[in-house]
Amino acid sequence: MSDFDYKQLDDIIHSRIRLAIMALLVSVESANFVFIRKKVNASDGNLSVHIRKLEDVKYVSSTKKFIDRKPVTTYQISNLGRKAFEAYVDRLSGLLQNG
């Protein structure tokens, strides 16, 4: 097994749960919090923390609305997030090829 320079990878995306969120959001137009939670198998608190990190760097944007008097938050990947994700996957593939 070879060692890789992990510093070449985007720290924000390089966490299993944030990677899952990004991979999910890059393949859909939008998804709500509950859907993402089910797909990435995370708890409410854990997902909130990680999704907040992605929002802080503007990789993901959110829209809040009330449906049947209940708050529903829907998430979308931003152009910046999409580019960052593509770069991450390219880098990952590159590291593998060079390894």
Partner: protein
């Protein structure tokens, strides 16, 4: 960090992307409502001709089609808002059916109203347009039986073009039930909890 870890990450990304894209956003509700609404309207139009009721067909169709569009507006503002995920496929499919609906409304009212289309040929024209919708939906969602419904619509159109007559109202009503309303129920049952 090892190549195994990285390969695992790439496989993980691929799995999530594929699963998310596979999400079927098809809703049978639209097909059921339009299928039943239009088949009843076609039957009433046929009965109006056959029994010489003398009812105003334009008013009848304005109410039916207007009712269908009203349903779409209400549905969009209530049920559609609750959809937990919207894929790009759903977006394309939704806009394709919207454009088909607008096309059929124009053909039905202005095509016949301006005498550009003879009334006995409106059903086969509708059939060919609906076939496009089913074929494309089936292909983009990778559901063969939905794609194959198009052949039913095209086949029906060929029959109605070759053998015009007032029977086509009943024939088309039957197709609306067989190739629209019933598939709508199947879709609703199959993907209601997707």
């Amino acid at each position: 960090m090892t190549s195994d870890t990285l390969q695992g990450d790439l496989a993980y990304i691929k799995k999530i992307v594929q699963e998310s894209r596979k999400n079927i956003g098809l809703s049978g509700d639209h097909l059921i409502v339009w299928g039943i609404l239009v088949s009843i309207a076609l039957f009433v139009t046929w009965a109006n001709h056959y029994y010489n009721w003398g009812a105003n067909e334009w008013l009848h169709w304005v109410l039916v089609i207007g009712g269908g569009w009203l349903f779409e507006i209400i549905y969009g503002r209530t049920v559609d808002r609750k959809i937990p995920v919207r894929t790009y496929t759903d977006k394309i499919e939704g806009f394709m059916w919207l454009s088909i609906g607008i096309t059929l409304t124009i053909l039905g009212f202005l095509g016949i109203g301006t005498d550009a289309i003879r009334p006995e040929y409106i059903s086969p024209i509708f059939s060919t347009v609906l076939a496009i919708g089913y074929f494309t939906s089936g292909v983009i969602y990778e559901v063969k039986w939905i794609r194959n419904l198009a052949f039913g619509w095209w086949g029906g159109a060929i029959i109605m073009f070759l053998f015009p007559g007032s029977y086509h109202l009943l024939f088309m009503a039957g197709m609306m039930i067989a190739f629209q309303a019933i598939p709508g129920f199947i879709i609703q049952k199959t993907w209601a909890n997707d």
